[in-house]
Structures are given as structure tokens and as C-alpha cells.
């Protein structure tokens, strides 16, 4: 008889350094619950606009089901190039400087793997999306987390980044408008960071997937700053702006040499992004502007509804200028973010995500996604109010 084995013995050591996503726990808690209102989703409550879905259906009917270029359809890259020239006045060569990826998640993984040598440090500005730190660990790099302070409306400052830089630092990852705080950066904030990037000769990985959901001020594309085009890997996608999360459609913009390196990994792991989603993306860029603006206007109304509601309840909420998250402080309740979110879910059936999941400076805060209907937001606020009153 052959000897039994323990499957766990085969797991690579690096996996033990990565804790499972804290969001997962909440997912398991609600899966069998009824009458649950969720402010826990990081995706639009809208269905993808019909003209985009229709373009995808049409392409399938016409047999467009093949592989595409590893880089993605040239037609899509040309549209993206025009889009960036028009919106941000920064030019990317469609043939060599644009890579279409399956979600920003893939783009992020490629960007990090393409630049990180074992032991290289990558600074992650937190609170932030949960994938940044694990992606760095998977690539053999060392994540250096840096907490943006609530006193500063969760903006990171150039001085704070500068203080975290060592001779092993390879890059900095920022995400504005920010998930989970809704914070945005002004051009002057970014200019100061750009100076630090140049001074220390490092790269910026800028995740701008919430760009189109900027409600106050205007979004500044990091690579559009003087001298930053060749020092930036810009990640963006269609999920949030066009309500296309399930299409997994995104792109990376960077200088040719970096895109070449990212391509090397992409072609052997993903080959190419799904053609149907790419066709949807072309349609989105060509004819989606009105829908994007309409959805953004409605998110803006919900933003005002939820922020004023949370403040009325006594959960102090700073003004999020972008994305679709409110990030109220729950410190007045004396509960930890985890306790608050768990009790709110079990006792009042409202899903929110504790802020500490997104980084240490998120402790004492709660992520409330307002990409939910106004009715749901009102009902959730009512329940949160009752929960807080009963504490």
C-alpha cells in the first residue's frame, strides 16, 4: 500500500505570509441570512449599460470568439490612447505602451512581478484595496505599509512617503480616488509626491480605477504630471465607471520597456483578455460617456445622502470626494471596527466592512459602500442609527 500524504506539505512557504482576506469572513456570515442590506459591495449596483452588453452579444453572434493579440485588440488600445490624450493630455503609443489586462488585479500583479526583485521594498499607502500587500509578497518583494492619517482626510503626504523610502525601495502604490476611504488628491499634493519620486529615482504604481467617480475637484492622472510619464505604471479599468465588474476588463499604461516586461508574464499566464469583454470596452469608450456621467451623478446624490445620514447618527464621517465609499469613524461607540461590523450584521443585518481590513489606520472606521439603491441606503442608515442608539 502506498503511504498517505498530507496535501498541506506541498504548499509553498510564501503562502503562509499571506493572511486570507478579512472580507471573506463577512461573506461567509451573510451567505445564509435573509433580509440583509448590504453596504459591503465594492461594485456598482447598476447592470452594465445595455449598448455595451448588446455589442458583446452581437460580437458573439458574429463569431468573434478567438484569441486576440497578447496586448489586446489594437482597436481598443487606439481608443484608450485617444481617451488619455483627450482627457489627461498624456500620450501612450497604442502599439507598445498599452496592455489590456483581465481586471486591474491582473495589471497590479504584472506590474509588481515585472519590477520587483527578491527583497525589493514596495511602499503601499493604506488604507487600501486588499490585494496590494499579497501581490508584493507573491512576487518575493517586501511590502512597506504606510498609513494615511484620518486627520489629513486620508491623503498621504510627500513627506510621509519620503520618510518610508530606503535604498531598497522600488516603487510606491497609491490609489486615488481611494477604496476604502473615498479620499482624493489635489494636483498640488501629487506634484509634491512626484518630486519625491524623482529625487529617489523610484517608480509610481497609480491605481486610478475610481477616476471617473470624482465628485469634487478634478482628477489628476499621475502620469500626466511633468516628468512622471516614464516613472508611472498607470492602472485603470472599466469595472467601476462603466459598471462592468464581471467583464474583468482593465489596462496598464507605462513606458515600452515596462509594458514589455509585463507582457512577458501576461502572455504566458493569461495569453490575452477575453475578446468579448474587449469588444464591450471599445463600445464603452466610444459611446459610454453619457451613461458614465449619469451614474456618477446618481452616486453623488447617494454620497450626500449617506454622509449626512451617518453624521446625523453621530458617526463622524469626513467628506469623501470620490469612489463610492463613505468611511465614518466609529470610535465614539467604543467598539472596535470588527466588533461594530460583526454586531451590526448579526443584530441589524446590515453588511459593512471594518476599516482595519484595509490597513492599520483604518481601525476605528467602517467602509460603507453607497453603490446601493437610495431605498437600501435609507433603510441601512435607519438600522445603523438604531444599533448605535442601543449601545
Amino acid at each position: 500500500m502506498r503511504t498517505q500524504c498530507k496535501p498541506s506539505q506541498f504548499i509553498a512557504n510564501s503562502m503562509q505570509k499571506v493572511p486570507p482576506s478579512g472580507i471573506r469572513k463577512f461573506f461567509d456570515m451573510v451567505s445564509d441570512s435573509e433580509d440583509v442590506i448590504t453596504l459591503g459591495v465594492g461594485e456598482p449596483d447598476y447592470v452594465t449599460p445595455w449598448h455595451i452588453r448588446e455589442a458583446c452579444i452581437h460580437s458573439i453572434e458574429h463569431g468573434e470568439t478567438s484569441y486576440t493579440s497578447n496586448y489586446g485588440l489594437l482597436e481598443l488600445r487606439e481608443e484608450l490612447s485617444k481617451h488619455y490624450t483627450r482627457r489627461h493630455n498624456v500620450y501612450y503609443e497604442p502599439e507598445t505602451e498599452i496592455l489590456v489586462t483581465t481586471g486591474v488585479s491582473e495589471g497590479l500583479d504584472l506590474a509588481i512581478r515585472a519590477i520587483v526583485n527578491p527583497g525589493d521594498e514596495v511602499i503601499v499607502v493604506q488604507p487600501s484595496y486588499v490585494a496590494y500587500v499579497p501581490s508584493i509578497i507573491f512576487a518575493g518583494g517586501v511590502p512597506v505599509t504606510l498609513g494615511a492619517r484620518p486627520e489629513n482626510d486620508f491623503k498621504i503626504t510627500a513627506d510621509e512617503i519620503k520618510a518610508a523610502i530606503t535604498n531598497k525601495t522600488k516603487a510606491v502604490i497609491i490609489n486615488y480616488p481611494n477604496n476604502p476611504t473615498g479620499a482624493t488628491m489635489d494636483r498640488s499634493d501629487l506634484e509634491a509626491i512626484a518630486d519625491v519620486i524623482v529625487e529617489h529615482d523610484i517608480l509610481m504604481i497609480s491605481d486610478e480605477v475610481y477616476e471617473r467617480l470624482t465628485y469634487e475637484g478634478t482628477h489628476t492622472c499621475f502620469s500626466s504630471l511633468e516628468g512622471m510619464r516614464d516613472r508611472t505604471i498607470l492602472l485603470n479599468g472599466f469595472s467601476k465607471a462603466y459598471a462592468m465588474t464581471g467583464f474583468r476588463m482593465a489596462y496598464a499604461l507605462a513606458p515600452k520597456e515596462i509594458i514589455d516586461a509585463m507582457m512577458l508574464i501576461h502572455q504566458y499566464t493569461m495569453l490575452c483578455a477575453p475578446i468579448t469583454a474587449q469588444i464591450g470596452a471599445i463600445e464603452a469608450l466610444r459611446n459610454g460617456e453619457k451613461e458614465v456621467e449619469k451614474m456618477a451623478r446618481e452616486y453623488n446624490r447617494r454620497r450626500k445622502l449617506i454622509v449626512s445620514g451617518l453624521n446625523k447618527i453621530g458617526l463622524d464621517c469626513f467628506n469623501p470626494r470620490g469612489a463610492f465609499y463613505a468611511f465614518p469613524s466609529i470610535s465614539s461607540t467604543g467598539l472596535s471596527a470588527d466588533e461594530f461590523a460583526e454586531r451590526l450584521l448579526t443584530e441589524y443585518k446590515v453588511v459593512t466592512i471594518p476599516g482595519n481590513i484595509f490597513g492599520d489606520t483604518g481601525e476605528g472606521f467602517l467602509r460603507c459602500a453607497y453603490a446601493a439603491s437610495r431605498e437600501d441606503i435609507k433603510e441601512a442608515l435607519e438600522r445603523i442609527g438604531n444599533f448605535v442608539d442601543g449601545l
Binding site: V30, S31, G40, V41, R301, I353
Partner: protein, 163 residues
């Protein structure tokens, strides 16, 4: 149109019962400002009327609708306005539109039975002096009305937690 006006109109177009207080919360204006703006929009006839979309079938009144297309002979001094005015005064006529193309005017007529609508078309519409010919189409089912999809199948459920 300024942003605030667009906001108010979009909110009311979606739900005319939204209170000025709630619109104020949604837009960041004060309730007084919202009320004043709405008053202006009503006076300027930008807001024409607040209506309710009713499913009369479900309510138990089974109305019959027909779209009737008309060819019009224009007489000296009598433009389309004159015939439109004659047509829209009938309460049975729910809408009157001037069209380009083969027909000149399209009206929607509502009645309690096909017979009633057919007789109305024959007696009241076809007999108008300016009406050369009519072409009546009975509505069998309405799928979408004024931007609202009736009988929409339930949407796919999404995850309740995601990053």
C-alpha cells in the same frame, strides 16, 4: 442647464414624490432653495405635471389602446395645428404627434373595448374633413412605457460582500 436644476429634474422624473427635504439632502442644497427652484420650474412650465404610472390591467380596468396613423390634407390657412387641436380635445385621444414620413399624424386612443375604439376611429377621426385616410393598429402588449420597463424579469442577484 445648471447642475442643481438637472439634479432636481432627474430626481423628480424618477420619483415625483421626493420631498424638498430629501432632495436637499441628495443635492447639498437647503430645503428652501429646493422649494424655490421647483416653484420656478413649475412656473416656467419646465415641470408640466406630476403623474402616476398605473398598471390599469392589474387594477382591474382593462383598457384597449390603438395607435391610429392619419394622412392629412392641408388646406389653405389651416396648418397641422388646426387638426391637432380638433383631435386632442377628445378625451379618448391620449396623445397626438406630428410625424415625418408616410403618415402625417399619429394619435393614441384609449377605450374600453376594441369595438368602442374602432367605432370612435370610424365616426370621430376618419370623418374629420382634413383626414384623408386612417390606419388603425391595436396595441396587444406594452413592454415599455415612458422609459419604464413593465414586467421586467428579476435581476440577477449579486454578491453581498466583495472587495
Amino acid at each position: 442647464m445648471d447642475e442643481q436644476t438637472r439634479d432636481i429634474l432627474e430626481i423628480l422624473a424618477d420619483d415625483a414624490r421626493t420631498s424638498p427635504e430629501e432632495i436637499a439632502t441628495l443635492t447639498g442644497m437647503t430645503a428652501d432653495e429646493v422649494s424655490r427652484k421647483i416653484e420656478y420650474l413649475e412656473k416656467a412650465k419646465i415641470i408640466r405635471k406630476y403623474k402616476t404610472i398605473i398598471d390599469w390591467d392589474l387594477a382591474g380596468d382593462h383598457y384597449v389602446y390603438a395607435i391610429i396613423q392619419l394622412k392629412i390634407s392641408l388646406e389653405r390657412k389651416l396648418g397641422y395645428q388646426a387638426i391637432a387641436e380638433r383631435l386632442y380635445k377628445f378625451p379618448e385621444v391620449r396623445s397626438v404627434r406630428l410625424l415625418s414620413g408616410e403618415h402625417d399624424i399619429s394619435i393614441t386612443v384609449r377605450g374600453n373595448s376594441m369595438k368602442q375604439v374602432a367605432f370612435f376611429a370610424a365616426e370621430k377621426i376618419a370623418t374629420q374633413e382634413q383626414v384623408q385616410s386612417t390606419s388603425t393598429h391595436f396595441v396587444l402588449k406594452t413592454y415599455k412605457e415612458d422609459g419604464l420597463i413593465l414586467d421586467e424579469p428579476e435581476q440577477v442577484k449579486k454578491l453581498v460582500v466583495s472587495p
